[in-house]
Amino acid sequence: MTTKKEKRIVTEEEKTFAKNFNIMDLPDIPTGLPPHLQLQRTRVLCEEDAPIHTTSIAYSGAYNGVGVDNSVKLENFSDNFKVDVIELSKDGMELTFDMIGIDAAIANAFRRILLAELPTMAFEKVFIANNTSIVQDEVLAQRMGLVPIAADPKLFDYLSENDQPNEKNTIVFKLHAKCAKGEGRKKVLTKELIWLPNGSELVKESGDSNSKPKTYTSFSRSQKDSFPEFAAKDSNISPSYPDILIAKLGPGHEIELEAHAVKGIGKTHAKWSPVATAWYRMLPEVILLREVEDEDAERLVKACPQKVFDIEDMGNGRKRARVARPRECTLCRQCVRKNYGEDRNKDEEEKEWIENVGREKEWVENVALRRVKNHFIFKIESTGSMPPDVLFTEAVKILETKCERVIATLS
């Protein structure tokens, strides 16, 4: 029986290393990180059963023994840090970018702030004057709460417990939808919400009939006058999207309500979260450890559901696998499985083979799956209240103010 000798791919780096290598040049004390430690430091290795070396090595003196400084100083951080914008969606509300040269601790802080600590405006109080639809009041109020509002929260103040709702901290919308008898079902969409720059129109009931009628807000003047941003005739505050379904009305049903939006953060309630999601993943790195040819190459291409590999024609009928789209890799690890690209029933054949030969087939590793620890593919999907690039800069600013606050309390 002849065993096929596997051809290993020799990288350029290794070639130059081998050419210039002389044992006499080696220093008495090893300097620089040996390649295997460098790999552990910078990559997560995704093995068949589980990923290993997942943590980042934060301790500055971790490699003092080999004379390597592991501390991140501001100067070398500034030199290495890079941002690549990959994609901005057509409506400008989804942003994908690469953040290179930063630790997960800080990238995660940005993500957490985006989700939970950036202020937005959202409906907090819903005054229901009439609701004969099949959607119960509390369910309707909950649905209203989740409607994103396209208003810059920087313009508004927080409404604290003792505050009266006024033009600086509250946005008022009214909704009056009716489905006439004898008509078909009617959809109530967010475009039917009408902004009331003068505040609430609902009159508070009071025993005293002589006093001036009071509403649920105390606006001193119209928001059209107090905010130059909305002074123009057609610059109105509205929900981010006009076609969000609020309720469905049957014939004879009616909804009449007023909704008050206030400023808040996602930590208090998810309705104030400015993002649908904000997430990152580490850059996948797919490396062929040997030349994968012909039948093996075809199996490898077939094994990958994300189509990471391509077949390269090498002439005279020979084929070779090539890593074409490593970014698409979801690390499903199909390609590092023992019977990659084979159908399930091959297991039976394998069993038979083991029974006949008495040992398992020799397994050769073709692919190394890794993740780059300091390269993050970051995606921000805004709910539409603010563009994602603004959200990210605001998130970084919030982390800055947090630091400032700690410094201030310590001094």
Partner: protein, 129 residues
Amino acid sequence: MEHGSFTNDSHASFTLAEEDHTLANAVRFMLNQDPRVTLAGYSIPHPSLECVNVRVQTTGDPAREVLKDACQELMLMNRHVRSVFDKAVAEFKVKQARLATEEEKKTKAEEAELKKQRDLLASMDIESD
């Protein structure tokens, strides 16, 4: 708030109110990057409490100063991140706008070419008649 000893200020714990993993983990990372630090860690004493305890032990410098430096460093890092990000986004938007105008020009040119050919065809038809 600082919990330490009067005789040795190189070991101390700090309670940061109204903070969570967001800041504490980032600060712990920054502290670990500092060669003066021998130990840095944080914990949240109870999920319903809005505070974190940060423990800092140093080789001799006052723990308070080292923590302050870590925060300072983190702040400067953030400032750098912000400037780099803003620049990258601005560049991307310029690039996208340029691509869009080029695309527009291309489609316009294609349309003009098509029209020219159609006109030519039409004139040929008349001649053949």
